[in-house]
Amino acid sequence: MRRIALAERSDWRAKAADCGFGFHTIDDAPYWDESAYYAFSLREIEHDIEAPSEELHAMALDMVERIVGSEQHMQQLAIPEPYRDWIAQSWRERQPHLYGRMDFAYDGSAPAKLYELNYDTPTSLFEAAFFQWQWLEDQLARGQLPAGSDQFNSIQESLVEAFGTIARGIARPFHFAAVRDSTEDQGTIAYLRDCALQAGIDCGTLAIEDIGISEDGRFTDLDDNVIGCLFKLYPLEDMFRETFGPYLPRARLQLIEPPWKALLSNKGILPLLWEAHRGHPNLLPAEFDAGGELPRGWVRKPLHSREGANIAMHLDDGRELRTDGPYDGPCIRQACHPLTAFDGHYPLIGSWVVGDRACGIGIREDSSLVTQDSARFVPHAIVEEARGVLIA
């Protein structure tokens, strides 16, 4: 794994505009960054990222089976009592799921270590699935990448296939919803809807704020149609706390991601996975946090926090890092395994799982050890190392 500087495509902003990628620059700060790329060998991709992703995904689903049968685990994950049976039922019915992203610390020299599962509202999808793919095609066509360069990225193909599989069986109307004023989230649902349409699935979009409730407790769209299935790019744990939350368990509204994803997007899954698979090469030691002082070599994370917010890190060398944010509540501790710097940047690997298939990665790099919303998206390529030359 190497970080290689490469000239930007001179027309990438126009290309971004052409395909509706409106958030390549966020609050005047660059987000899409193609002034460099990460080069991987095929073995690094297949052996170190793809295979562990599929294995961890299977372990995570097995863990859901255990959690839904345990009041104690539900308690540890701080799942509100009124939603527990509903979540368990959604798992027993195997309500279909679409996608998730695992975040890995990986530098090409040691096993990838799982930081967390983003299994409810993962983003950076469009840029990984589409714009990164287009970058590779363009740079290959311009001869800027070694001939035969590839990319670990069949995300879009997998999304279309997944929609073709699950959406046939779901109730209509089928809507995609996100917060009205978030350009990034709106871009992500526009992309997902595009993939669903390519699978031949009729569907619409709706602002999450525009969802209505009827007298008899069913969710409606702006035309007063009872929503059959809702893809919501909005955290389940926030829905639980909000005014309409109490209607969810009885409304017969199908959700994607389904309610059981609340168990996997929750950082409480990390200590449970560690307990069940202690010593697994891709897992970091983790435990539920009882409060108190954070010892050296540990990181504290709230059960729910997004974009690297509210993280406390106590490094082995005694340095302490802390990020702000709005999240509080119960926390976990995870053994500190800092990202490796490449030319002063800290890349975090987002490994995408669509359905049950590991199908691609997107890399976000930050100038800090904690990957936050300021992190830039940097593309990657699979480039075979030159053979026959061994420099010792």
Partner: protein, 179 residues
């Protein structure tokens, strides 16, 4: 190759797709009781015939299975069930396909190549059902099993008077909520 063979956009893109202007793209989806009904609606006999044949073939694998004719007929009505074999000398009873789905992308009002189809069954109460998603052969999902459950089809959406809105979204921040 580890990447998608193609990655195109339908609606997000302002660029022409496949060299045709694509300002009017929609999809159509219909439940039809016969090829004739399908052709009358869509004026596309090739897609209708092909969708019917595919659905018919798929119905053998995805129809619900019953140990005897009586159980099947109780759910799907008299004369609506047939005996089948799973190929391992085990026979069972399943309902006859009574309709099929066709869903297709439209481009400039013209149906594109390729479509999705699925068998549909009518139960003894007159309701329509189709196989649940698990019955599909999609390779994205592990453990796709046969003999899956059926889900009801609602051709026309339910309507309900909305009493209030904005019950979700109050936690929203300026950057939204993706993670």
């Amino acid at each position: 190759m580890k990447r998608s063979r193609t990655a195109a956009l339908l609606l997000m893109s302002t660029a022409p797709l496949l060299l045709t202007a694509c300002d009017r793209n929609q999809s159509r989806e219909g439940l039809y009781t016969s090829v004739e009904a399908c052709v009358a609606q869509t004026n596309d006999s090739a897609s209708c015939n092909e969708a019917f044949a595919k659905a018919k073939q798929e119905s053998l694998a995805t129809a619900p299975r019953f140990a005897n004719r009586e159980e099947c007929e109780a759910r799907y009505g008299a004369q609506q069930c047939a005996e089948r074999s799973d190929g391992n000398n085990h026979s069972f009873f399943g309902p006859l396909m009574t309709g099929f789905f066709l869903s297709q992308m439209m481009r400039n009002g013209v149906a594109t190549n390729g479509f999705n189809s699925a068998p549909a069954f009518r139960d003894s109460n007159g309701g329509w059902q189709r196989p649940a998603a698990d019955g599909a052969s999609g390779g994205v999902y592990r453990g796709a099993n046969t003999g899956t459950g059926m889900v009801p089809v609602t051709a026309t959406p339910d309507r309900a008077v909305t009493s209030s809105r904005s019950g979700f979204g109050r936690s929203s921040g300026s950057r939204g909520f993706g993670s």
